[in-house]
Symmetry: C2
Subunit: 75 residues, 2 copies
């Protein structure tokens, strides 16, 4: 665990393996958990803005979708 | 769970709450897990390119760091 209730390091290993990694260091998996936590936090912040703007109190999947689209570079 | 061994939906709820969400729908948490899985996959792909370029077989934390910097918009 990267931190209390952080993203699972095992899941990070799995993602790297799925992407084709031959071997993944423990520090790389921990770094990935940290990075995805930060990105997730940023997406959540953006999503909450959309939620409030729509006059709702509950974050919905469409808020996450639009916030994610704004935050990361599309290729 | 979004899929077999996907990112924990509970962790997604936690991230949204940490970002200040009052309430988070289950579908929003599932969407966040999906989005972060995709971003993680893209970062891992990028990291592997750096690993191979450096003549290594093991993905290290510096590979994840540089790949993450390239992939998402810095603010």
């Amino acid at each position: 665990m990267v931190s209390d209730k952080g993203l699972s390091v095992a899941a990070m290993h799995r993602i790297c393996k799925k992407a084709g990694a031959e071997r993944v260091s423990e520090s790389a998996a921990i770094e990935m958990a940290k990075v995805l936590e930060e990105i997730g936090f940023k997406i959540a912040k953006g999503a909450i803005d959309y939620t409030i703007h729509a006059g709702r109190k509950t974050v919905e999947d469409r808020d996450i979708k639009i916030a994610a689209e704004k935050i990361w570079i599309k290729e």
